[in-house]
Amino acid sequence: MPMPDFSLALPEIWVGAMACVILVADLFVPGKDRAVSYYLSLLTLAVAAWLTLDTQWGVRELTFSGTYVADSLGAILKVSIYGLTALAFIYARGYLKARDLLQGEYFVLGLMALLGMMVMASAHSLLTAYIGLELLSLSLYAMVAFNRDSRVASEAAMKYFVLGALSSGILLYGMSMIYGGTASLDLAVIAERASADNMLFVFGLVFVMVGVTFKFGAVPFHMWIPDVYEGAPTPVALFIGTGPKVAAIALFMRLVSEGMPSLSEQWQLMLVILAVLSLVIGNLFAVVQTNFKRLLGYSTVSHVGFILLGLLAGTEEGNAAALFYAITYALTAAGAFAVIILLSRRGFEADQIDDLRGLFQRDGMSALALLLVMFSMTGVPGTVGFYAKMLVLKSLVDVGMIWLAVFAVLFAVVGAFYYLRVLKAVFFDAPAETAARIEATAGFRVVLAGNALAVLLLGIFPGALIAACLAVFA
């Protein structure tokens, strides 16, 4: 048997190796602020991005006996996940340090989770996808419980673990059915052999969909999201709310869209139900939240509804729209969490909407950043969120699902209400008298400003990213 082509999987090999290096280096390098681990992690991400673009963009090749695929879809997913992970690292550092939580393990676990997402993005067999998913999930469980003295964090981690393990089990069960029906783990073979005539595949599909949409957090598999967002340390919530959502697109594209095209009629119907429920429940429950992190949790659910709408169109354009939506939403959400991190300090989490009161007068720059982020989530033009929504609507209209598009925009108006409530606290309310001075390093501010500007600039010049997303599926 010939040797597999390792060069195609260079990014994964590099990230995996570096995670081990950082784990060991962290033990031997003194220093309380973990500068070496931190900068090595960022370097890892930068090099990985270069490797990915260099070896995987614009090609489509299989290796490791057809279990791993290097293609543009994987490349764009990975590069955006690197960026989101970098944001999660940068925003986290000061937060963790102030709480005596800054340990090298945070970066190692983050890189391991990243490796899991990368494997998912390049999976070409059921097992590869499953391994990637588990690597991601196990790292995330540990990260949620990173503040081991916090009871809410432990509770959130336990909830996340129990539900996550259950969904993984269901996913595995579904995979076993499909394997039973096709006698192959290879997704290309499965795509050929699976057909809607055999009920076995339909059942398998249902179970796989449960696993995939659990990762998305679509209704009715969303129960973990608000609790985990609220309980986890804010930088971890940021991490969970961004990269894994993009990775979930990968899981869907590989397992369902490419893996079972002949069952598209079945999974489209499932997606319609999931998307509609996510839009309704996510938006309506977000309206009544007073905790900003929980609000972001429910708002994530509603945005997942939009992503699923793009996927269910089933066209190249629809997939590209969903991809664009996931990437830009994750970028936007990172900005929202960053503002919470900015306002928090040791012993105080600024996670209530009331904690944002008068931010415009306390700190104009972060108020404007939050303005852009919230309007982007609302879908107001000038911010990138508008194009995300527009592309999804366009792909729906093009396949004739106009009423679904109308339904989606009506619930976007419901969404506007609670985003405006946040902005009302920021701009129109007077600051609480107890509000402390906001302290942040210059680096943090620069990255937050860059993050917000990216939301704005992508909202004015979205052409390049849209073209890249389209090129992936063309």
């Binding site: 415009f360 104009g364 303005l371 309007f375 609302t378 107001v380 033009p381 000038g382 508008f386 194009y387 527009m390 592309l391 609507l393 366009k394 209209v397 093009d398 106009i402 598009a405 109308v406 925009v409 009506l410 976007a412 108006v413 506007a416 209400f417 405006l420 409530r421 902005l423 009302k424 701009f427 129109f428 979205p462 052409g463 849209i466 073209a467 389209l470």
Partner: protein, 502 residues
């Protein structure tokens, strides 16, 4: 000069850039901020004048610019103006100069952000009128909400939060449906250019749905009865400058949408639903006029009178089908009347709100009952206020008369009863405006606050004088405005009649 200049782009981006610079300067130097704001506003206004002087008579789009923007979907950054859009753009740049002047000494809370909001808003509004691409139009259309949301919410009155969230949600709900309609039209036409949406020959049922989607967006903006309830709230709570922009420009954008989208894109639906539009317009004229009579709050009264006056605009636009059915001529007159009414209302309502603003700055009350005998202490102000009140009531010789008269005259050719109902405004309009004027300005000095009032200063005098000239000028000699838009409106009627499938 100005040959080959990207004038429209300059008009969009110059104020936005000025606004961003103001934000960057921040609140450190209020004097410099005001000066820079005024400079930007005046410069933008001057740059908009060549649009008028170099405008070629005719219906074609002029000053056209077109650049690929999102090539993957054929979205273009395409700007251009015709006889409808050009006057509205000049009205916009003109109003912003007044707004900056009106806020001069009055806005003490965060003046840089205040002026920046208005300048950014100016660029966006010019963009709405100049956009030739549906997506570009929608981007500007929605982006307009953001500065207005902040203007009302930060600098508004006591109940501003309620008002601004209501304003945002109402208009947002209206416009998202339009977005779906635009995307559907793109699917049919294969391009996002607005001109390509004309004459598609869509089946009736589709047209009706698209018409209703547009109606949701534009009727809220105009606003038409019964979706007008956000307007009195927003006006009452907004700062004076916000009220002026709302009344003078933003309401016009709704009516502009009818001309640019509803009528030419869905002519059959417009024909078959014209009874609805006429009914809603007449309800606005008659019923809202009566509502205005009983208001206790001056700004609310003017807000309701705005709704009634905008009813004339929509009446003029949608009466054309019945007029065409009865006679060859008259349709053009109705449309011109609607357009003149739009411009005139831009001047008159701005002037009325500025007058109330002058009083509010001194007394911090908008209640009619708190005033009385203002003429004794503020004679110059009272003279201006009287002129604008007369214009609001439609006195011949003022701009308020021209538009209303043209619409009523044309409507006679559609149906006698429409014209009769519309003409009741001459009574109710005079009633609510003059009765308010009498209670506020005439009579004995009502209380010691009124006795202490100072007459208008030079700055306020300048603002009101400019508006007085505009109101009288348009009232006495409307021909230039009417002529400049005639070819465009003529062509629009052609599109509406020729483009019908049934």
């Amino acid at each position: 000069m100005f040959e080959g200049w990207p004038l429209l782009s300059l008009l969009v981006w110059l104020p936005i850039a000025g606004g961003l610079i103001l934000l960057a300067i921040g609140e450190r130097a209020p004097g410099a901020v005001r000066g820079l704001a005024l400079l930007t506003a005046v410069l933008t206004f001057l740059l908009s004048l060549p649009l008028w002087t170099q405008f070629q008579p005719g219906a074609a789009m002029q000053f056209v610019e077109s650049v690929d923007w999102i090539p993957a979907f054929g979205v273009k950054y395409a700007l251009g103006v015709d006889g409808i859009a050009m006057p509205m753009i000049i009205l916009t740049t003109f109003s912003i100069v007044l707004v900056v002047l009106a806020g001069w000494e009055v806005i003490t809370q965060r003046p840089a952000a205040y002026y920046a909001s208005f300048l950014i808003m100016e660029g966006i509004m010019v963009g709405v009128f100049a956009a030739l691409d549906a997506i570009l139009f929608y981007v500007f259309w929605e982006a307009m909400l953001v500065p207005m949301f902040l203007i009302i919410g930060v600098w508004g009155g006591p109940n501003r939060v309620y008002a601004t969230i209501k304003f945002f949600l109402y208009t947002f709900l209206g416009s998202v449906l339009m977005l779906v309609a635009l995307i559907y039209l793109r699917y049919q036409a294969g391009s996002f250019a607005i001109a390509d949406f004309y004459g598609l020959g869509l089946p009736m049922q589709t047209q009706v749905l698209i018409f209703l989607a547009f109606l949701a967006a534009f009727a809220v903006k105009v606003p038409m009865w019964p979706v007008h309830t956000w307007l009195p709230d927003a006006h009452v709570e907004a700062p004076t400058g916000g009220s002026v922009i709302l009344a003078a420009i933003m309401l016009k954008i709704g009516a502009y949408g009818f001309l640019r989208f509803s009528l030419p894109i869905t002519p059959d639906a417009s024909l078959s639903l014209d009874w609805l539009m006429i009914a809603l317009s007449l309800i606005a004229v008659v019923y809202i006029g009566l509502v205005a009579l009983v208001q206790q709050d001056m700004k609310k009264l003017i807000a309701y009178s705005s709704i009634a006056h905008m009813g004339f605009v929509t009446l003029g636009f949608f009466a054309i089908f019945r007029i065409l059915a009865n006679s060859e001529s008259g349709a053009l007159l109705a449309m011109q009347g609607g357009m003149v009414q739009m411009v005139s209302h831009g001047f008159v309502s701005a002037a009325m709100f500025l007058c109330v603003g002058v009083l509010y700055d001194r007394m911090h009350s908008r209640k009619i009952a708190d005033y009385g005998g203002v003429v004794n202490t503020m004679p110059k102000f009272a003279a201006f206020f009287l002129l604008f009140a007369m214009a609001n009531a439609g006195l011949p010789g003022t701009s308020g008369f021209v538009g209303e008269f043209m619409v009523i005259l044309a409507t006679f050719k559609a149906n006698f009863w429409y014209a009769l109902l519309a003409a009741t405004t001459l009574i109710t309009g005079a009633g609510y405006t003059l009765w308010m004027f009498k209670r506020v300005v005439f009579g004995e000095i009502a209380n010691e606050h009124v006795a202490e009032l100072q007459d208008i200063n030079a700055r306020e005098f300048l603002i009101l004088a400019i508006l007085a000239v505009a109101v009288l000028g348009l009232g006495l000699y409307p021909a230039p405005l009417v002529e400049v838009m005639e070819p465009t409106l003529q062509q629009l009627i052609q599109v509406v009649t020729a483009g019908r499938v049934g």
